[in-house]
């Protein structure tokens, strides 16, 4: 065999795990993003006393596939004197940024594309911050007035909330002491507590910053329908628009995974160190998915069209198959070794799902911030709070290591100190807006400058 083929074979042999994981992520992501969209529409409908997509497939289960096909077929309109090269390239940037940052994430103790990079979390945050390059270039390239304003607004928002998010991550990293993702989760196992409880203010700041970073819920101003039609996405249609849309949802999953790894104990099951819970919580995933299968059989009978009943039966079978995989290691011993990987992935995805559920929940209930209020909240309240929190966690760790305070006592004292500062900031903010109650809200006009 000639040397190049030999070298390629060697390369494949050493890296096949990473390549497989990578391919799985790239293939599964559009599907997962599609079904996250379906879940969001169903949840929104449920909260608004209506049914949501019901027509395509039973209970709208095939809706994402229908959406994907529609977007592929739709015509790609390029505005007249748009900047060809950048117009095509911008959505690709935001999609690629989201996907590469997913490469470093660990979806379970075993499932990780890039094994223990030394700068794990920093890599994820850094590459996902490339995403908003795609947004600003997209806004500029489509050469329409609305999209330029949308692009400038969304970039200003992303830049300011990324600082707050970064500082919140710093205070969590203080607790874990390392950047490696797997080491962070192990640190949470050693501390026998999730960092979300140890540094609640950091968790809350990161939650707010991540919502703003993915342009969602009360901060979804750049594409506020009522004013700027669709912000930087106005001129995009068909497949390019789908890329942006996918990029947004992939970003949401990335942000959810970072929060879960840092604050919600990654793939640790709820009470990791309580050993008598091992068996019940171990079997729980299999039971849950089996339950879903039984429910879909129950629904299969009620479908109006026979084809839908068949489809519901297929869904039921799929659920039972997955439940079988989860239950198999408990049944016969030799498969014992895959339990941590499988259950870990289950708990991780459950927590990411819960985190994204909070995103959606906020989207349906809260009205939208005005742009200057949004920037004001970011710069005057969130960033100072994050800085003070980094300082407070540092002091807490110092108190605990040098003066031998109990860890919990130190953290409670410092969190109280941070919350006092937060209250002061909020009151300062309220006094300022009510004081400036003249006809024009005397806020900094960040855009006009």
């Amino acid at each position: 065999m000639n040397p190049t083929a030999q070298a390629i074979l060697h390369f494949l042999l050493t890296w096949w795990v990473e390549i497989v994981c990578g391919v799985v992520i790239v293939a599964v992501l559009p599907l997962v993003a599609g079904y996250v969209v379906l879940v969001e529409r169903k949840l929104m409908a449920d909260m608004q006393a209506r049914l949501g997509p019901m027509r395509v497939g039973p209970h709208g289960l095939l809706q994402p596939i229908a959406d994907a096909v529609k977007l592929l077929i739709k015509e790609d309109i390029v505005p007249r004197d748009a900047d060809g090269l950048i117009f095509w390239f911008a959505p690709v940037i935001s999609m690629v940024a989201a996907m590469t940052s997913m490469g470093a994430l660990a979806f379970g103790p075993t499932f990780q594309v890039a094994r223990d990079i030394n700068i794990g979390i920093l890599f994820v945050v850094g590459v996902s911050s490339l995403g908003f390059l795609g947004i600003i270039l997209g806004g500029w390239a489509s050469n329409s007035h609305y999209s330029i304003i949308g692009a400038i607004r969304s970039t200003a928002q992303l830049v300011s909330y990324e600082t707050a998010g970064g500082l919140a991550i710093v205070s969590a990293l203080l607790l874990s002491g390392t950047l490696k993702i797997r080491a962070i989760v192990d640190a949470q196992y050693d501390h026998h507590v999730w960092f979300g409880f140890l540094a609640p203010v950091a968790f809350f700041t990161y939650l707010v910053a991540s919502i703003a970073e993915t342009n969602r819920a009360p901060f979804d101003l750049p594409e506020a329908e009522s004013e700027l039609v669709a912000g930087y996405m106005t001129e995009y249609s068909g497949f390019r628009w789908a890329l942006y849309f996918l990029g947004e949802y992939a970003n949401m999953i990335v942000v959810g995974s970072v929060a879960t790894t840092l604050f919600l104990g990654g793939w640790l099951r709820p009470f990791p160190s309580v050993h008598w819970l091992d068996k019940p919580l171990g079997v729980l995933p299999a039971l849950l998915i089996g339950g879903v299968g039984v429910y879909s059989i129950y629904r299969a009978g009620k479908q109006p069209v026979p084809i839908q009943t068949w489809f519901m039966w297929a869904v039921a079978l799929a659920c039972f198959a997955v439940a079988g995989i989860f239950a198999a290691p408990w049944v016969f011993a030799p498969l014992k070794f895959i339990i941590p990987g499988l259950n870990g992935a289950f708990w991780f995805l459950l927590k990411v799902g819960a985190y994204i559920y909070v995103f959606m929940w906020l989207r349906f209930t809260l009205p939208r911030y005005r742009f200057d209020q949004l920037m004001h909240l970011g710069w005057y309240i969130l960033i100072p709070l994050a800085i003070v929190n980094v300082f407070a966690v540092g002091v807490a760790l110092l108190l605990e290591s040098e003066f031998g305070w109990n860890r919990w006592l130190a953290l409670i004292v410092t969190t109280a100190f941070t919350l006092a500062i937060a209250l002061f900031l909020v009151r300062l903010h309220d006094k300022r807006t009510t004081a400036g109650s003249s006809a024009t809200a005397a806020t900094t006009d960040s855009y006009a400058g």
Binding site: D83, I86, N118, G126, L133, I136, L137, W140, A141
Partner: protein
């Protein structure tokens, strides 16, 4: 084998996009090509086992400075027709001088070892596996050996921030109703 493939890929991308950056007329295209060069050099840093610098380059350079450039290019509408691109002698003089400089340095690099006695001695490179973990080593020397420059750099950044804000601030309109 993998190393050389990666190196030639990154080097090729870097040089090509740098050349394109210098020649493009539309400033936004220049910015995009500069971003590709920066990402390629970040790849080179990674190959030289400097991963903290790799991520610092991505976050600071591409995520920070280039966004600043793109913002200014967007605000300063440049599509005012640039008609003055007439042929100027200056361009060719510059290219010639650069090539002369390049030739000069390549001769030094290539023939250094051959000159007796005082050639450019390039030491055998440090074994890869005994390298300390990168970000820890960087932090170690940054906060112990180079603490003072670190503080000065932060002051420098503060001054730059204040200067930029003051300069770019629009004079508050007097008729602000």
């Amino acid at each position: 084998m993998l190393d050389s493939i990666l190196f030639y890929f990154f080097a090729g991308v870097a040089v090509l996009s740098a050349a394109l950056m210098v020649t493009r007329r539309n400033a936004m295209h220049c910015a995009v090509f500069l971003i590709t060069t920066l990402l390629a050099t970040a790849g080179i840093f990674l190959q030289l086992r400097a991963e903290f610098l790799f991520i610092a380059q991505i976050i600071l350079y591409v995520g920070g400075i280039m966004v600043l450039f793109i913002f200014v290019i967007m605000l300063v509408r440049l599509d005012v027709p640039i008609h003055q691109m007439r042929f100027r002698l200056q361009k060719w003089v510059a290219v010639f001088v650069a090539l002369a400089l390049g030739f000069e340095i390549t001769t030094i690099l290539l023939f250094a070892r051959k000159l007796p006695g005082q050639g450019l001695f390039i030491q055998e490179s440090f074994p890869a596996d005994k390298l300390p973990p990168n970000s820890e080593a960087l932090a170690q020397s940054l906060f112990s050996g180079y603490l003072l420059p670190f503080e000065i750099a932060s002051v420098l950044l503060l001054v730059a921030m204040v200067g930029a804000v003051v300069m770019a601030k629009k004079k508050e309109r007097t008729d602000e109703s």
